[in-house]
Amino acid sequence: MSETKYKNVFVQGAISPQKIADSITHHQVKTQIGAHDIFLGQVRADVINGKTVQGIDYSAYEEMALKTFHEIREKAFDKFDLTCMHIYHSIGMVKTGEICLFVFTSSAHRKEAMDACRWLVEEIKAKAPVFGKEVFEDESHQWKVNS
């Protein structure tokens, strides 16, 4: 991982359900929060030309990606009335069924948390220079493109 002034959002490999549970637990002391919204991206076992995806190997232009995540985060705080926000994205291999993206927004009320979460996921998919190599069960691969 390179040196950077931006918060690191990358997690090596899959994001564990325990990390998500711990993150929820950490917010129980923040009693001004009335609503959380969580988005979890999970690697899907797509079947393409008869071959099944076994996982996605994520890579990124890390310095630019961290800068982009930072800008998205700043914009979200300007746009929505949030108490806090967390973003984690996998780097490296994530097997099908495992979690590769965790976006967690918290606010006093549900609308802000839900609107912000949806907005963040769309921004991340469109703007973060993250790449995904879909690896098939026979070890061949193709490059994923966000729709």
Partner: protein
């Protein structure tokens, strides 16, 4: 002038390396692209965007000696 070029994902795979320093004539991103497409014909058939010093660009801009330019194929985060 000298430019640091970074290649990612399918672009890196096709050109066969992930970064290199090149010496080029001219001082714009278009000059750089012409140089790279001449060096790696495969780039003519690929979809990618350019980032100059970690910012996406959408038009031809001038670049300086030592600039970092990245060739970014379509994003697939999330």
């Amino acid at each position: 002038m000298k430019v640091k070029v970074l290649y990612f994902a399918q672009v890196a795979e096709k050109v066969g390396c992930s970064k290199e320093e090149i010496m080029m004539e001219g001082n714009t991103t278009e000059d750089l692209l012409n140089y790279l497409k001449n060096k790696y014909a495969v780039l003519n058939d690929m979809t990618f965007k350019l980032a100059v010093d970690q910012t996406l660009i959408h038009e031809n801009i001038s670049i300086k000696d030592g600039t970092e330019v990245a060739l970014l194929p379509p994003f697939a985060g999330g």
